[in-house]
Symmetry: C2
Subunit: 220 residues, 2 copies
């Protein structure tokens, strides 16, 4: 499903280099709910961006559903990101000038889904995260946890086979966060793959499998 082999990522900063990932290998199967844990700055978001085809590794290889990502053009990668992957960003990355509903319909624009169905699917995704009464708000008119849930709904609306959620419950209270985890578990039960980056040990315990990053390497 997801096969990462010896991924490294370096950032050159003038004379110094930040080694964000130092050789990470990971295999994730369909139906898995995997938690990636680790200290602040250990490379979790960097790893998620590589798996999500949002960035390219310095060295190493990645395959999704048996297909290597390295050889693909930017257009092909954009199709994969839109059709196969749903990404919940750590900082949400919502568009502040359009409404909550419009934010969630955006990924459906590329897929040839008609406007009526787009609206229905977006409303349904927002209902699943408890935001039916905020459809016309703009992101700046929402609480932090409400913005986080819009980001989650947006990642779900294309019904992708891989969901990459970077700290999806960080801004949520226990009860609301638990509802999101139950949603992810239901998605895995359908045979999809969900990877959750989290600091919360309770979230880690909820997931079927956990790995830990430290200084750009997976701990055993």
């Amino acid at each position: 499903m997801i096969s990462a082999v010896q991924l490294t990522k370096e950032y050159r900063m003038g004379e110094s280099t930040v080694h964000a990932l130092r050789g990470v290998s990971l295999q994730v199967a369909a139906g898995e709910l995997l938690a990636i844990m680790g200290p602040s700055g250990s490379g979790k978001s960097t790893l998620m961006h590589l798996i999500g085809c949002l960035d390219t590794p310095t060295t190493g290889s990645l395959s999704l559903d048996g297909e290597p990502v390295a050889g693909l053009s930017e257009e092909q990668l954009a199709v994969i990101r839109n059709r196969k992957i749903g990404f919940v960003f750590q900082q949400f990355n919502l568009l502040s000038r359009i409404t909550v509903l419009e934010n969630v319909t955006t990924p459906l624009m590329y897929g040839g889904v008609g406007w009526r169905e787009r609206g229905q699917r977006a409303e349904e995704a927002l209902d699943r995260v408890g935001l039916s009464d905020r459809l016309r708000h703009r992101p700046t008119e929402l609480s932090g946890g409400q913005r986080q849930r819009v980001a989650i709904a947006r990642a779900l609306v294309t019904r992708p086979s891989i969901i990459l959620a970077d700290e999806p419950t960080g801004a949520l209270d226990q009860e609301t966060g638990r509802a999101i985890l139950d949603l992810f578990a239901a998605i895995c039960a359908e045979g999809k793959t969900v990877i959750v980056v989290t600091h919360d040990p309770q979230v880690g315990a909820f997931c079927g499998r956990r790995v830990a990053l430290r200084d750009g390497l997976l701990e055993e």
Copy 2:
């Protein structure tokens, strides 16, 4: 120290009104470490923005150190915000085009502090949050938890008597988050006031006192 009486806040949205706060009263003394908890959307950030003089209540009154805030001009409020209050925003609100060090020196610009001392105090604040090796980075070149710690350092650098921290450990692992809480406890021991909004029951348990918001009202 902080005296809030029957604070309400309404947002008019076309025909409907969101009642974010419905009459909140709160007294906080010097030296207190107070946790404000509650579900997503319950009004925590709204309450913090009112206490921090970043916004005005629809009705109700607020006094800081015995001085009512209602009568003050925008200039006087700006001085209070800069000298008396350090605010850690839930979304950090860092300036992305300047470096980490420059972000943290910014609040010192208004206080007549010379450039050499500004740099020293900013470095010292960043050292306290474990970011001495990221001074020249820009916020976009940091992890989520590193950005959060820059926001915390920036709130501390003016040595304010009131610190308002909106989910200051939300993006941090257990160990890094604990170091931040220890820092807040040390600040309270100096006679300052720290209010922390949190979803994390462990953070709530760490604080000397807890209140809970639900639907814009404090629960007993």
